[in-house]
Protein backbone atom coordinates (compact mmCIF):
# COMPACT_ATOMS: atom_id res chain seq x y z
CA UNK A 1 0.00 0.00 0.00
CA UNK A 2 2.74 2.35 0.99
CA UNK A 3 4.62 1.60 -2.20
CA UNK A 4 1.58 2.35 -4.27
CA UNK A 5 1.16 5.66 -2.52
CA UNK A 6 4.80 6.48 -3.12
CA UNK A 7 4.51 5.53 -6.73
CA UNK A 8 1.40 7.64 -7.05
CA UNK A 9 3.18 10.58 -5.51
CA UNK A 10 6.15 10.25 -7.81
CA UNK A 11 3.92 10.03 -10.82
CA UNK A 12 1.98 13.07 -9.70
CA UNK A 13 5.16 15.05 -9.32
CA UNK A 14 6.46 13.87 -12.66
CA UNK A 15 3.20 14.75 -14.26
CA UNK A 16 3.14 18.12 -12.65
CA UNK A 17 6.66 18.98 -13.60
CA UNK A 18 5.96 17.90 -17.13
CA UNK A 19 2.91 20.06 -17.31
CA UNK A 20 4.43 22.66 -15.06
CA UNK A 21 5.12 24.75 -18.05
CA UNK A 22 1.57 24.56 -19.30
CA UNK A 23 0.15 25.70 -16.02
CA UNK A 24 2.09 28.89 -16.21
CA UNK A 25 0.69 30.27 -19.36
CA UNK A 26 -2.99 29.64 -19.58
CA UNK A 27 -3.40 32.79 -17.55
CA UNK A 28 -2.53 34.76 -20.66
CA UNK A 29 -5.30 33.29 -22.77
CA UNK A 30 -7.65 36.17 -22.16
CA UNK A 31 -5.08 38.94 -22.13
CA UNK A 32 -5.22 41.14 -25.17
CA UNK A 33 -1.82 42.68 -24.72
CA UNK A 34 -0.21 39.29 -24.70
CA UNK A 35 0.39 37.57 -28.03
CA UNK A 36 0.80 33.84 -27.90
CA UNK A 37 1.94 31.28 -30.39
CA UNK A 38 1.76 27.70 -29.22
CA UNK A 39 2.45 24.66 -31.34
CA UNK A 40 2.05 21.17 -29.94
CA UNK A 41 3.38 17.83 -31.02
CA UNK A 42 0.54 16.82 -33.30
CA UNK A 43 0.75 20.06 -35.25
CA UNK A 44 4.51 19.65 -35.51
CA UNK A 45 3.94 16.18 -36.90
CA UNK A 46 1.50 17.57 -39.46
CA UNK A 47 4.07 20.15 -40.42
CA UNK A 48 6.65 17.53 -41.17
CA UNK A 49 4.08 15.90 -43.47
CA UNK A 50 3.53 19.03 -45.52
CA UNK A 51 4.40 18.79 -49.15
CA UNK A 52 6.64 21.82 -49.22
CA UNK A 53 9.34 22.55 -51.75
CA UNK A 54 11.76 20.05 -50.38
CA UNK A 55 14.09 21.03 -53.21
CA UNK A 56 14.67 24.15 -51.23
CA UNK A 57 17.57 23.31 -48.96
CA UNK A 58 16.55 25.88 -46.40
CA UNK A 59 13.16 24.37 -45.90
CA UNK A 60 14.75 21.01 -45.31
CA UNK A 61 16.67 22.32 -42.35
CA UNK A 62 13.53 23.69 -40.78
CA UNK A 63 11.76 20.42 -41.32
CA UNK A 64 14.59 18.47 -39.76
CA UNK A 65 14.42 20.66 -36.70
CA UNK A 66 10.66 20.57 -36.47
CA UNK A 67 10.55 16.80 -36.64
CA UNK A 68 12.44 16.57 -33.41
CA UNK A 69 10.49 19.11 -31.44
CA UNK A 70 7.79 18.39 -28.89
CA UNK A 71 6.31 21.84 -28.57
CA UNK A 72 6.99 25.51 -29.10
CA UNK A 73 5.65 28.37 -27.04
CA UNK A 74 6.17 32.01 -27.76
CA UNK A 75 4.76 34.91 -25.79
CA UNK A 76 5.27 38.48 -26.85
CA UNK A 77 3.95 41.73 -25.58
CA UNK A 78 4.28 45.43 -26.21
CA UNK A 79 3.04 46.24 -22.80
CA UNK A 80 5.54 47.22 -20.14
CA UNK A 81 3.47 45.73 -17.43
CA UNK A 82 3.10 42.36 -19.10
CA UNK A 83 6.67 42.50 -20.13
CA UNK A 84 7.49 42.51 -16.44
CA UNK A 85 5.20 39.51 -15.99
CA UNK A 86 7.01 37.66 -18.70
CA UNK A 87 10.25 38.45 -16.98
CA UNK A 88 8.85 36.96 -13.82
CA UNK A 89 7.74 33.88 -15.73
CA UNK A 90 11.16 33.57 -17.21
CA UNK A 91 12.80 33.72 -13.81
CA UNK A 92 10.37 31.18 -12.44
CA UNK A 93 10.89 28.80 -15.31
CA UNK A 94 14.65 28.85 -15.30
CA UNK A 95 14.83 28.09 -11.63
CA UNK A 96 12.00 25.60 -11.52
CA UNK A 97 13.40 23.53 -14.33
CA UNK A 98 16.97 24.04 -13.20
CA UNK A 99 18.02 25.39 -16.52
CA UNK A 100 21.59 26.18 -17.29
CA UNK A 101 22.56 29.49 -18.72
CA UNK A 102 23.77 29.13 -22.26
CA UNK A 103 24.50 32.74 -23.01
CA UNK A 104 23.56 36.30 -22.27
CA UNK A 105 23.83 39.04 -24.85
CA UNK A 106 23.31 42.68 -24.37
CA UNK A 107 23.58 44.84 -27.43
CA UNK A 108 21.69 47.46 -29.40
CA UNK A 109 19.56 48.17 -26.39
CA UNK A 110 18.33 44.60 -26.18
CA UNK A 111 18.86 41.96 -23.51
CA UNK A 112 18.80 38.40 -24.74
CA UNK A 113 18.96 35.45 -22.36
CA UNK A 114 19.36 31.80 -23.29
CA UNK A 115 18.81 29.03 -20.82
CA UNK A 116 18.93 25.33 -21.60
CA UNK A 117 18.41 21.91 -20.18
CA UNK A 118 21.19 19.72 -21.52
CA UNK A 119 20.34 16.90 -23.87
CA UNK A 120 21.70 13.60 -25.06
CA UNK A 121 24.95 15.01 -26.35
CA UNK A 122 26.87 18.25 -26.48
CA UNK A 123 25.00 19.65 -29.42
CA UNK A 124 21.57 18.73 -28.17
CA UNK A 125 19.37 20.29 -25.56
CA UNK A 126 16.04 19.08 -24.22
CA UNK A 127 14.68 22.45 -23.36
CA UNK A 128 15.53 25.88 -24.60
CA UNK A 129 14.31 29.07 -23.00
CA UNK A 130 14.92 32.47 -24.52
CA UNK A 131 13.94 35.81 -23.10
CA UNK A 132 14.35 39.14 -24.82
CA UNK A 133 13.51 42.51 -23.44
CA UNK A 134 14.69 46.00 -23.98
CA UNK A 135 16.93 48.11 -21.82
CA UNK A 136 15.63 51.28 -23.43
CA UNK A 137 12.78 53.30 -22.11
CA UNK A 138 10.72 53.69 -25.28
CA UNK A 139 10.98 50.11 -26.41
CA UNK A 140 8.55 48.06 -24.42
CA UNK A 141 8.67 44.81 -26.38
CA UNK A 142 9.36 41.56 -24.58
CA UNK A 143 9.61 38.06 -25.96
CA UNK A 144 9.58 34.75 -24.13
CA UNK A 145 10.25 31.58 -26.07
CA UNK A 146 10.21 28.07 -24.72
CA UNK A 147 10.99 25.02 -26.82
CA UNK A 148 10.86 21.37 -25.74
CA UNK A 149 12.27 18.51 -27.70
CA UNK A 150 15.42 17.11 -29.10
CA UNK A 151 16.90 20.40 -30.12
CA UNK A 152 20.02 20.56 -32.23
CA UNK A 153 21.65 23.88 -31.44
CA UNK A 154 23.98 23.68 -34.39
CA UNK A 155 21.03 23.46 -36.72
CA UNK A 156 19.35 26.39 -35.08
CA UNK A 157 22.42 28.44 -35.61
CA UNK A 158 22.63 27.27 -39.18
CA UNK A 159 19.24 28.69 -39.99
CA UNK A 160 20.34 32.27 -40.12
CA UNK A 161 24.03 31.99 -40.01
CA UNK A 162 26.23 33.38 -42.73
CA UNK A 163 29.31 31.87 -41.28
CA UNK A 164 29.46 28.18 -40.84
CA UNK A 165 32.57 26.90 -39.19
CA UNK A 166 33.29 29.89 -37.03
CA UNK A 167 29.80 29.72 -35.55
CA UNK A 168 30.26 26.09 -34.81
CA UNK A 169 33.54 26.80 -33.14
CA UNK A 170 31.95 29.43 -30.95
CA UNK A 171 29.31 26.97 -29.96
CA UNK A 172 31.92 24.48 -28.95
CA UNK A 173 33.66 27.10 -26.96
CA UNK A 174 30.45 27.88 -25.23
CA UNK A 175 30.01 24.30 -24.26
CA UNK A 176 33.47 23.89 -22.99
CA UNK A 177 33.27 26.81 -20.65
Amino acid sequence: MKQIKLLGLIMAIAFMSATGVAQDFSKYDKVREMNAFVVNKSMLKLMSKLDLDSEDEDVKVYLDLVENLDDIRIYTTESLEYGKQLQADFDALKSKNNLVELMRVKSDGKNVNFYIKPGKSDDYVNQLLMFINSSEKNDTQSVLMLINGNIDLKNISKLTSQMNIPGGKSLENLKNQ
Binding site: F37, V39, Y62, I72, V105, V112, L128, V143, L159, P166
Partner: protein, 143 residues
Protein backbone atom coordinates in the same frame (compact mmCIF):
# COMPACT_ATOMS: atom_id res chain seq x y z
CA UNK B 1 -56.48 -44.75 -67.63
CA UNK B 2 -55.25 -44.24 -64.12
CA UNK B 3 -58.61 -43.86 -62.59
CA UNK B 4 -61.20 -46.60 -62.61
CA UNK B 5 -64.82 -45.95 -63.30
CA UNK B 6 -66.00 -46.48 -59.77
CA UNK B 7 -63.53 -44.03 -58.37
CA UNK B 8 -64.60 -41.43 -60.87
CA UNK B 9 -68.24 -42.07 -60.08
CA UNK B 10 -67.52 -41.51 -56.44
CA UNK B 11 -65.69 -38.27 -57.15
CA UNK B 12 -68.48 -37.04 -59.35
CA UNK B 13 -71.02 -37.64 -56.63
CA UNK B 14 -68.97 -35.71 -54.17
CA UNK B 15 -68.52 -33.05 -56.79
CA UNK B 16 -72.23 -32.60 -57.19
CA UNK B 17 -72.58 -32.14 -53.47
CA UNK B 18 -69.89 -29.51 -53.53
CA UNK B 19 -67.69 -31.61 -51.31
CA UNK B 20 -64.67 -32.31 -53.44
CA UNK B 21 -61.30 -30.85 -52.62
CA UNK B 22 -59.35 -28.84 -55.16
CA UNK B 23 -57.07 -31.81 -55.62
CA UNK B 24 -59.95 -34.11 -56.41
CA UNK B 25 -61.40 -31.59 -58.82
CA UNK B 26 -58.02 -31.45 -60.46
CA UNK B 27 -58.13 -35.23 -60.85
CA UNK B 28 -61.50 -34.97 -62.54
CA UNK B 29 -60.23 -32.32 -64.89
CA UNK B 30 -57.28 -34.48 -65.75
CA UNK B 31 -59.50 -37.48 -66.35
CA UNK B 32 -61.67 -35.58 -68.77
CA UNK B 33 -58.83 -33.80 -70.53
CA UNK B 34 -58.01 -36.72 -72.78
CA UNK B 35 -60.48 -38.62 -74.90
CA UNK B 36 -60.16 -41.78 -72.84
CA UNK B 37 -62.98 -41.13 -70.46
CA UNK B 38 -65.92 -43.39 -70.16
CA UNK B 39 -68.67 -42.23 -72.46
CA UNK B 40 -71.19 -42.57 -69.71
CA UNK B 41 -69.74 -39.42 -68.30
CA UNK B 42 -70.11 -37.51 -71.54
CA UNK B 43 -72.10 -34.71 -69.99
CA UNK B 44 -69.49 -34.13 -67.33
CA UNK B 45 -66.78 -34.07 -69.95
CA UNK B 46 -68.34 -31.05 -71.60
CA UNK B 47 -68.41 -29.23 -68.32
CA UNK B 48 -64.83 -29.90 -67.37
CA UNK B 49 -63.61 -29.12 -70.85
CA UNK B 50 -65.40 -25.83 -70.63
CA UNK B 51 -63.67 -25.06 -67.39
CA UNK B 52 -60.30 -25.75 -68.96
CA UNK B 53 -60.97 -23.41 -71.86
CA UNK B 54 -62.27 -20.69 -69.64
CA UNK B 55 -59.25 -20.90 -67.40
CA UNK B 56 -56.98 -20.19 -70.29
CA UNK B 57 -58.70 -17.16 -71.74
CA UNK B 58 -56.81 -13.94 -71.59
CA UNK B 59 -57.95 -10.44 -71.85
CA UNK B 60 -56.89 -8.36 -74.81
CA UNK B 61 -55.20 -5.00 -74.28
CA UNK B 62 -53.76 -5.69 -70.92
CA UNK B 63 -52.34 -2.96 -68.76
CA UNK B 64 -48.60 -3.23 -68.76
CA UNK B 65 -46.64 -2.48 -65.67
CA UNK B 66 -43.48 -0.50 -65.95
CA UNK B 67 -40.51 -2.64 -66.78
CA UNK B 68 -38.71 -0.92 -63.97
CA UNK B 69 -37.81 -3.76 -61.67
CA UNK B 70 -37.33 -3.72 -57.95
CA UNK B 71 -33.67 -3.42 -58.69
CA UNK B 72 -34.32 0.28 -58.99
CA UNK B 73 -35.06 0.24 -55.29
CA UNK B 74 -31.69 -1.19 -54.56
CA UNK B 75 -30.01 1.05 -57.09
CA UNK B 76 -31.51 4.01 -55.29
CA UNK B 77 -30.18 2.70 -52.02
CA UNK B 78 -26.78 2.07 -53.56
CA UNK B 79 -26.79 5.55 -55.06
CA UNK B 80 -27.69 7.10 -51.74
CA UNK B 81 -24.91 5.22 -50.04
CA UNK B 82 -22.47 6.34 -52.70
CA UNK B 83 -23.53 9.92 -52.26
CA UNK B 84 -23.13 9.69 -48.52
CA UNK B 85 -19.74 8.02 -48.85
CA UNK B 86 -18.71 10.56 -51.45
CA UNK B 87 -19.84 13.33 -49.18
CA UNK B 88 -17.91 11.88 -46.27
CA UNK B 89 -14.84 11.51 -48.37
CA UNK B 90 -15.06 15.09 -49.54
CA UNK B 91 -15.63 16.27 -46.01
CA UNK B 92 -12.62 14.30 -44.87
CA UNK B 93 -10.54 15.63 -47.74
CA UNK B 94 -11.69 19.16 -47.05
CA UNK B 95 -10.90 18.83 -43.37
CA UNK B 96 -7.52 17.51 -44.34
CA UNK B 97 -6.96 20.48 -46.60
CA UNK B 98 -7.93 22.81 -43.82
CA UNK B 99 -5.58 21.06 -41.47
CA UNK B 100 -2.81 21.29 -44.00
CA UNK B 101 -3.48 24.96 -44.46
CA UNK B 102 -3.34 25.45 -40.72
CA UNK B 103 -0.13 23.48 -40.59
CA UNK B 104 1.30 25.62 -43.35
CA UNK B 105 0.52 28.78 -41.46
CA UNK B 106 1.90 27.33 -38.28
CA UNK B 107 5.02 26.29 -40.08
CA UNK B 108 5.60 29.78 -41.41
CA UNK B 109 5.29 31.21 -37.96
CA UNK B 110 7.50 28.49 -36.59
CA UNK B 111 10.09 29.35 -39.17
CA UNK B 112 9.93 32.95 -38.07
CA UNK B 113 10.22 31.94 -34.45
CA UNK B 114 13.20 29.74 -35.13
CA UNK B 115 14.75 32.51 -37.17
CA UNK B 116 14.36 34.88 -34.29
CA UNK B 117 15.98 32.37 -32.02
CA UNK B 118 18.70 31.75 -34.52
CA UNK B 119 19.45 35.39 -35.15
CA UNK B 120 19.74 36.20 -31.54
CA UNK B 121 21.86 33.20 -30.88
CA UNK B 122 24.14 34.00 -33.76
CA UNK B 123 24.38 37.57 -32.70
CA UNK B 124 25.66 36.36 -29.39
CA UNK B 125 28.00 33.94 -31.04
CA UNK B 126 29.35 36.67 -33.28
CA UNK B 127 30.11 38.68 -30.26
CA UNK B 128 31.90 35.73 -28.79
CA UNK B 129 33.76 35.29 -32.00
CA UNK B 130 34.78 38.87 -31.78
CA UNK B 131 35.87 38.45 -28.23
CA UNK B 132 37.77 35.36 -29.12
CA UNK B 133 39.58 37.07 -31.93
CA UNK B 134 40.14 40.02 -29.72
CA UNK B 135 41.58 37.92 -26.97
CA UNK B 136 43.75 36.08 -29.44
CA UNK B 137 45.00 39.35 -30.76
CA UNK B 138 45.38 40.66 -27.30
CA UNK B 139 47.39 37.65 -26.36
CA UNK B 140 49.52 38.14 -29.39
CA UNK B 141 50.22 41.61 -28.36
CA UNK B 142 50.92 40.73 -24.79
CA UNK B 143 53.27 37.97 -25.73
Amino acid sequence: MEFNKDYISELLNLYKEGETSLKQEQELKLYFSSEDYDKEFEAYAKLFKFFEIEYKTQMEDQVKGTDKKSSSFWINIAASICIVLGGLWFYDYYQNQLEMEEARQAFKTTQNALNLLSNNMNEGLEKLEYVDVFSTQKNKLIK
